[in-house]
């Protein structure tokens, strides 16, 4: 009896010893040829890009005035093409109307992040027609500035694209020199993801191809 018991314990230990750490490499691309039943977060491999709009860049050097806006855009199609063969309907999968990412900038250039869609709708906010006080009391003002940790790409139902249009309003650097080349480095979070943690929802993480590296020279008016 004693021998059988010890033997059964050893067998149990033996069965317990093969262990997989799949989930812990959190940014490993999901392999859909394997069993996905125990995954809630999915990581894709084909990146989307954060690009500069209306750039004033010449030979990797951007020429801006203090107060100018560097415009950036991210477009994520709701039918997402993965690996040139498969396409995923990420809107049907997530039911999410927005995807989130964060943005980081080099310290040398101070800037505010604004929502360009608000500016497009209400151009009087930056046209100079309003005083500083009028701007701050405007009902649209609270939607104008964006926290760098929580930038939304919102679904445009006509085009079926998650769109994010943001602007960096460049402030005067603390150590300001004429004709000095300030390094500008913009990076994002590794992924753009839907922010939904309900048990019956999947979380989709799509990499963002984004490291914008330029020199900025401030030009006098």
């Amino acid at each position: 009896m004693k021998k059988i018991f010890i033997f059964s314990v050893l067998i149990a230990v033996f069965f317990s010893c093969d262990y997989y750490y799949d989930d812990y490499y959190y940014d490993e691309t999901t392999d859909f040829s394997k069993d996905i039943s125990n995954k809630q977060s999915f990581y894709f491999s084909t990146p989307v890009a954060l690009s500069i709009l209306e750039s004033k860049v010449v030979n990797d050097t951007a020429y801006y005035k203090v107060g100018d806006t560097l415009k950036l855009s991210l477009n994520l199609n709701s039918i997402y093409q993965e690996n040139a063969t498969d396409s995923y309907n990420i809107f049907k999968s997530t039911k999410a109307t927005s995807f989130y990412y964060s943005l980081h900038r080099s310290d040398e250039i101070d800037s505010d992040i604004i929502n360009l869609k608000v500016i497009e709708k209400y151009p009087e906010l930056t046209s100079g027609e309003l005083t500083e006080e009028e701007i701050q009391t405007s009902p649209y003002y609270k939607n104008l500035y964006i926290n760098h940790d929580n930038i939304k790409a919102v679904l445009n139902t006509e085009t079926n694209i998650y769109e994010s249009k943001i602007g960096l309003v460049l402030k005067k650097p603390t150590g300001f020199y004429d004709n000095y080349r300030y390094p500008l480095y913009i990076s994002t979070s590794s992924y753009v993801s839907n922010d939904n943690y309900e048990a019956n929802s999947v979380i989709i993480n799509i990499p963002i191809f984004s490291s914008i590296s330029k020199s900025v020279v401030y030009i006098n008016e």
Binding site: M1, K2, F5, I6, S8, V9, I11, A12, V13, F15, S16, D18, Y19, Y20, D22, D23, Y24, F32, K34, D35, I36, S37, N38, K39, Q40, F42, I79, D86, S87, Y88, N89, K92, S93, T94, Y197, E198, A199, N200, S201, V202, I204
Partner: protein, 209 residues
């Protein structure tokens, strides 16, 4: 991230309990015959990576060192408790356990405040063969009308057979009542799922007759 929050909470409780008991143990030579009652019914909670369930069972002490246990488990928590943390809910389960008790010793323990001062401590090792009828949320993908993949989640029921082994301690508080806890590691057998290893922690009170 590695250990779910709810499980972590119970592990901390367990750690504090264990520390308290070890520090409270002082050997004594006074003995009382606690092993006369060889039958025991017990109720307890059984927490594992996949489940958190209530366990009711019967233990038969076949000799001074061996005992056999049959128990049933059921979960009393609502579905959301499990699915929101991506855990598996035990709808119903059965366990067969064999225990080997090491030589007992008498101690004053933390229970001294509530019971007499001759508490018999029996460390043991156990092997468990378990069956579970469980439900959980699983992910899957399908092709929609436009030949695009859609990812989705649904609730499924599964039959699992589990084999586990562990160690623990039983405190015979007096002739009638006992308290025990055990912990160990186990795995699903006959399962094709890649990641089925679980740890468990069990705690319960028993009535002996």
């Amino acid at each position: 991230m590695f250990v779910k929050k709810t499980v972590m909470k119970y592990l901390i409780y367990f750690y504090l309990l264990t520390c308290g008991m070890v520090m409270g143990q002082n050997s004594s030579s006074i003995e009382k015959p606690h092993l006369e009652n060889r039958n025991e019914i017990f109720i307890g909670s059984n927490i594992s990576r996949y489940n958190s369930m209530t366990e009711i069972g019967y233990e038969f002490q076949s000799s001074d060192h061996f005992s056999l246990i049959a128990s049933a488990t059921i979960s009393l928590f609502p579905d959301d408790f499990y699915y929101n943390d991506d855990l598996e809910k035990n709808k119903f389960g059965l366990n067969l356990k064999g225990r080997y008790y090491f030589k007992y010793f008498i101690t004053h323990s933390l229970f001294y405040l509530f019971f007499d001062n001759n508490i018999k401590v029996r460390h043991f090792t156990e092997g468990v063969l378990g069956y579970g009828y469980n439900s959980r949320m699983i992910s899957y993908r399908y092709l929609d009308n436009n030949n695009d993949y859609v990812l989705d989640r649904k609730k499924t029921n599964e039959n699992n057979v589990m084999l586990s082994a562990g160690v623990g301690t039983k405190y015979l508080l007096d002739k009638k009542f006992s308290f025990d806890y055990s912990f160990g590691i186990g795995n699903h057998v006959f399962s094709k799922k890649p990641d089925t290893v679980f740890g468990y922690f069990k705690m319960g009170v028993g009535y002996r007759f």
